[in-house]
Subunit: 162 residues, 2 copies
DNA sequence: TATTGTTATACTCTATAACTATA
DNA sequence: TATAGTTATAGAGTATAACAATA
């Protein structure tokens, strides 16, 4: 048998399968993200980056510095300044001076911000549940596990490499 | 046993599982997309929307009208005009008059555009293969299948609803 | 000197709406 | 009137780079 040729054919087929998988992954993700983005705008007048920033703050009772927010959201500092400016104008977050380092601020949710975020987060979770509902709980577990492998880069032991 | 309460607990647990799944899905997708976007820019000086438009044209030897491009890319007409303007300036696509309807253009890849796209598409496919490599071929099939269920909204017959 | 954060600038993508030419 | 496409405008998000204040 022509093993090398077979392997090439197999490799090409696998490549196309990977590409199709990526297009499907991208399509599913974009569809869900666009739906969430649109509903956040229509129902709460907020954008996804602002929602994300509030979500970061909600998890940290002590607040976060601008640079830490920049790191976690993976955007540059200027953008964080702009987003925090907008949220502060709407009185959803506050900048507080730090005693120890006067260059740095701590950004926190205000009580109004915390309450507004709670309402948004609840609606958001409902949308996610709705949009993922075509998958059973067991299928969602499988998907979660597969995506974990993709993230970590470590193949599962129980799976041979094709 | 308190069946209703158990169901509520289960529902809450499922909700959180769905949310975690969505965050993981979004994270995986964004990471891959950002990598591809960056490499397209660095290695080919092109943006993802322009690459996508060329990909649409590559599949249609007869070219596409502006409105058809707008529909397929799910963006409004003004944006397509702007993207086609840029690609035409670089001589990667051409607008051709239609004999039948003088309001409408047909947009096609030029030979240079087709050749440039072939190189980009080959590199692109390689990146996708690389970025999905942590998953075995079998795992990729599973992921493809699960995402298909998510897309169609039709649960697989072999899976009960949890 | 290095770091924190802001400001200024520029670019891409996006939507909306007014507009022209043609059907 | 309706449709195809363009133009103008505005807004969000992004990166880069120069800058001020502080460490």
């Amino acid at each position: 048998m022509n093993a090398p040729i077979d392997m090439e054919v197999r490799a090409h087929a696998d490549h196309h399968a990977s590409l199709r998988l990526w297009l499907r992954l991208l399509s599913a993700c974009t569809r869900i993200e666009d739906t969430i983005r649109q509903r956040l705008r229509e129902q709460f007048g907020i954008t996804l980056p602002r929602f994300d920033l509030m979500a970061q703050l909600e998890r940290e009772a002590d607040g976060l510095s601008m640079s830490e927010l920049s790191r976690r959201m993976m955007v540059t500092g200027g953008n964080v300044t702009s987003i925090v400016d907008q949220l502060e104008k709407e009185q959803l977050v506050v900048r507080q001076m730090q005693a120890t380092d006067r260059r740095s601020y701590t950004v926190r949710l205000t009580p109004a911000g915390r309450s507004a975020f709670a309402a948004m987060a609840q609606a958001h979770e409902g949308w996610v549940v709705e949009l993922l509902a075509p998958l059973s709980a067991r299928q969602q577990q499988q998907l979660h596990s597969l995506l974990g492998t993709l993230k970590s880069g470590t193949p599962t032991l129980s799976e041979e490499k094709s």
